[in-house]
């Protein structure tokens, strides 16, 4: 498996963190790990909801300081 790709979507409103993640997910390979950094509180619920809906894997979600670190794995 390749190393984790970090997507820094902190302090941005448009297109926003989940849209950034979707873009990166398209180009990732199955099994790849991605870590989304977000200062948007909404990411803590939106990202897991989308990951579950599509069928990817939510590895972890934690807030360090003001930043959400959301780790996911592409499953299909």
């Amino acid at each position: 498996m390749s190393e984790t790709t970090v997507i820094d979507a902190c302090n941005t409103f448009c297109p926003g963190p989940l849209m950034e993640l979707i873009g990166f997910m398209k180009r990732a390979d199955v099994g790849d790990e991605l870590e989304l950094l977000s200062t948007d509180q909404g990411s803590a619920t939106d990202v897991p909801a989308w990951i579950a809906k599509v069928g990817h894997e939510m590895i972890s979600s934690e807030k360090v300081g003001d930043i959400w670190h959301l780790k996911v794995r592409k499953m299909k």
Binding site: C14, L18, I22, R27, G42, D46, V54
Partner: protein, 377 residues
């Protein structure tokens, strides 16, 4: 000093004119050489394509000869770059000419791509290309009613366009007296109907008032043309009689071919607007990998920062300004009202009720754009 601008669209043109004005004396004295390379001799005002798709503007209204938009002092060549040799501070063009530079500005934009979504190109109408906008208007005029699905690829330029297109479809069918025969179904990739929370909050009641259905978490996977159904990555589907797409985008192939960024997005410092690892290479507009809106206004505000920094690097040896992430968007709300959104890295936009005067301002801007590109506005 040799300054080379690659790309003659919104960002490249505004930055080149900005530098030419600031440094006109040094250019006349031969101390500064300012060159622009582009892929075409035409300059398209892409926001106008939306109006072409709805029969409100013609293609010739939104195109000018690039050379007429440039300040004297800018050497302009239609000769696209094929090789970026950044460590040697030079580029090589299609015709084989080598241009050396001290400072390079890259503004090659991005383009709609269809290879990721089977069936999408054949099945859909789009205002995102010249050919598409003309074709879409023809199709809209012939449409007599049925299900209209609006689908949105990721990433895409002009993030407000999906909502504007939907409002304009509503208005178009209403004016033709067939709105009651049309079911408008909007879809969007994330959890709300627009990525900017305040725009989503404002647009939901507007959609409800206009009886526009919407589904969120809808990422286009493929289009089944025979059965007229769009399938989403999330496992849902939408039937359509008319499919309108905001296609996914990529940066220009030349960027990835030169190993400068996956999918053509160049890794860029969000404040300095320099390419990672290359302090003498500025990047702006749609081709950056920055997590901000791919809009002309972004390119415009970035141009002003880069123009000022280029002049100050020449005069003082260092840059003086940082980009704060400023973006400004008009939002067409219906046939004669518009609102706007202005935000940066820190401050979110506040959306006000749409007004007629804001719509008039956008209509005027569609004409003023040429002065803006010249750097006069």
């Amino acid at each position: 000093m040799r300054i080379l601008v690659v790309g003659g669209g919104m960002g490249g043109t505004i930055v080149a004119n900005n530098v030419a004005r600031r440094m006109s004396k040094e250019i006349r004295q031969g101390k500064v050489e300012l060159t622009m390379l582009s892929a075409t001799d035409q300059h398209w005002y892409q926001p106008g394509l939306l109006y072409v798709a709805f029969g409100k503007m013609a293609l010739n209204d939104i195109c000018r000869d690039q050379s007429t938009l440039l300040e004297p002092g800018i050497k302009f060549f239609v000769d696209p770059v094929e090789e970026f040799e950044l460590n040697e501070n030079r580029v090589r063009t299609k015709s084989g000419v080598v241009h050396d530079f001290d400072l390079l500005v890259i503004a090659t934009g991005c383009e709609a791509i269809y290879d990721e979504v089977p069936g999408l190109e054949k099945a859909s109408e789009t205002p995102y290309t010249k050919h598409g906008a003309v074709k879409m208007f023809k199709r809209l005029r012939e449409f007599e009613g049925g299900k209209v699905a609006i689908v949105v690829g990721v990433p895409h330029k002009c993030p407000i366009a999906p909502i504007e297109i939907t409002f304009m479809l509503h208005e178009f069918f209403e004016k033709r007296g067939i709105r009651d025969k049309v079911q408008l179904q909007y879809t969007y990739p994330i959890a709300r109907i627009h990525n900017i929370e305040n725009i989503a909050k404002w647009a939901v009641p507007e959609f409800e008032r206009m009886q526009i259905d919407y589904e969120t978490f809808f990422n286009i996977k493929e289009v089944d043309i025979d059965n007229k159904v769009v399938h989403s990555e999330e496992g849902t589907e939408k039937e359509y009689d008319l499919l309108v797409a905001v296609p996914p985008h990529r940066g220009m192939p030349v960027i990835e071919e030169n190993g400068m960024g996956d999918d053509g997005w160049i890794p860029t410092d969000r404040y300095k607007l320099t390419m990672d690892g290359h302090d003498n290479v500025f990047v702006l507009g749609d081709t950056t990998n920055l997590p901000i809106s791919k809009t002309g206004s972004t390119a415009h505000f970035e141009s002003e920062v880069i123009g000022e920094n280029i002049a100050s690097i020449f005069r003082t040896g260092s840059a003086t300004r940082e980009y704060d992430g400023k973006v400004y968007c008009f939002i067409e709300a219906d046939q004669d009202r518009a609102t706007n959104a202005c935000f940066n890295y820190i401050d979110p936009p506040e959306i006000k009720a749409p007004t007629k005067s804001m719509h008039m301002l956008k209509m005027s801007y569609n004409q003023w754009y040429w002065s803006s590109a010249r750097g006069l506005l």
